[in-house]
């Protein structure tokens, strides 16, 4: 897990971009399911971080700070008219087939098929979660962030983060359980 980075280290922004671009992109991509939006938001996120680097006190890790910026940008995007357009487009276009990316080299064909089916189910459920539930879920189970980091990134209380995560996991458990 990345440690708190002094603001001075933000001056070497090339290395910050190289290090954090994939993480931010992955989180935004999983949140929006839109590659173009993910690239745009990731770039915007890093640009804003660079602009605001003097205000970064290092209270949270750089990763948490960047995720916080990314969450705000995703929220802005979803509020904008543009996302309304994208919602209509996504309604007619199949979402990416996550099952195709299941690392199942060591699995039997049956287990591999089941794993793919489960991944598609989890992916489908995560699309139906509320924005906060999805954000907390992705931060915990994809980005491996700890409770306090998620609180710092989302601005939610500990109890609120827990409730959102429990509800998300409950829904996923229900969908995956049905496949067993």
């Amino acid at each position: 897990m990345p440690q708190a980075v002094p603001a001075r280290e933000l001056d070497d922004f090339d290395s910050v971009v190289r290090r954090y671009w994939p993480r931010i992109f992955r989180f935004v991509f999983a949140s929006t399911r839109d590659r173009d939006a993910a690239e745009s938001i990731t770039q915007d996120c890093l640009w804003r971080a660079y602009q605001a680097r003097d205000g970064f006190r290092g209270d949270a890790s750089l990763n948490t700070w960047l995720i916080q910026i990314a969450i705000n940008l995703i929220r802005d995007l979803k509020r904008s008219r543009r996302i309304q357009f994208w919602k209509r487009v996504q309604a007619t276009v199949d979402s990416p087939d996550l099952g195709a990316f299941v690392p199942c080299q060591s699995m039997s064909p049956e287990a591999s098929a089941l794993a793919r089916e489960q991944m598609d189910a989890v992916w489908a459920v995560s699309a139906k979660l509320s924005d906060r539930q999805r954000t907390v879920f992705l931060l915990r189970f994809v980005e491996d962030m700890e409770l306090l980091e998620i609180c710092a990134a989302t601005g939610l209380s500990e109890s609120a983060v827990k409730v959102h995560l429990y509800r998300a996991v409950h829904k996923i458990r229900e969908s995956v359980g049905a496949l067993r």
């Binding site: 922004f13 671009w21 992109f25 992955r26 999983a30 996550l98 989890v122 994809v142 996991v169 458990r173």
Partner: protein, 163 residues
């Protein structure tokens, strides 16, 4: 024996359960342990799949990153700004070129008209039967040429009366 509920399982899977009783139950109860293991495996697979998937889609972005990162430097313009500047420049050119062409055409037309006027005036000068100073005498010359047309010649020596 009372099994763990969904919230307790989620807390254990997330690693946020602080209750020793719940953790102990998860170890002892086969049913709950199997459920938790299955959930853990599913979420681990989900994480791996998302990471593989985003890495596949992020390749171009990561390749772009080292090139795009200098754009973040303060002395380099932001790509969006560059796009706006280019768009504004394109719009300015799109507007300016027709205006310039219009102005240029008007200038050429005016020049042509001025040239035409000049040529016409030269033609008038050349086509006069006598210099301006001798114009009052022209009627007399015409009368004279009518009686002897071949003797009437213009100021530049060309014969006019025969025409």
């Amino acid at each position: 024996m009372k099994h763990l509920n969904s919230e307790q399982m989620s807390a254990i899977v997330a690693g946020w359960s602080s209750s020793e009783t719940e953790q102990q139950h998860a170890l002892v109860c086969r049913e709950c342990a199997a459920e938790i293991d299955h959930l853990r495996e599913t979420l681990k697979l989900f994480r791996a799949s998302i990471r593989d998937w985003s890495e596949g889609n992020c390749k171009s972005a990561v390749n772009v990153a080292p090139q795009s990162s200098p754009n973040i430097a303060p002395d380099r313009p932001h790509p969006r700004r560059v796009a706006w500047v280019l768009a504004a420049a394109g719009l300015a050119i799109a507007v300016a070129v027709p205006v310039y062409q219009d102005v240029r055409e008007n200038e050429l037309k005016a020049q042509e008209e001025a040239d035409d006027r000049l040529i016409e005036s030269v033609q008038n000068q050349l086509s006069r039967s006598a210099p301006v100073a001798m114009q009052p005498l022209v009627p007399m010359l015409i009368q004279s040429s009518d009686s002897n047309p071949k003797e009437f010649r213009t100021e530049n020596g060309k014969e006019r009366g025969a025409q």
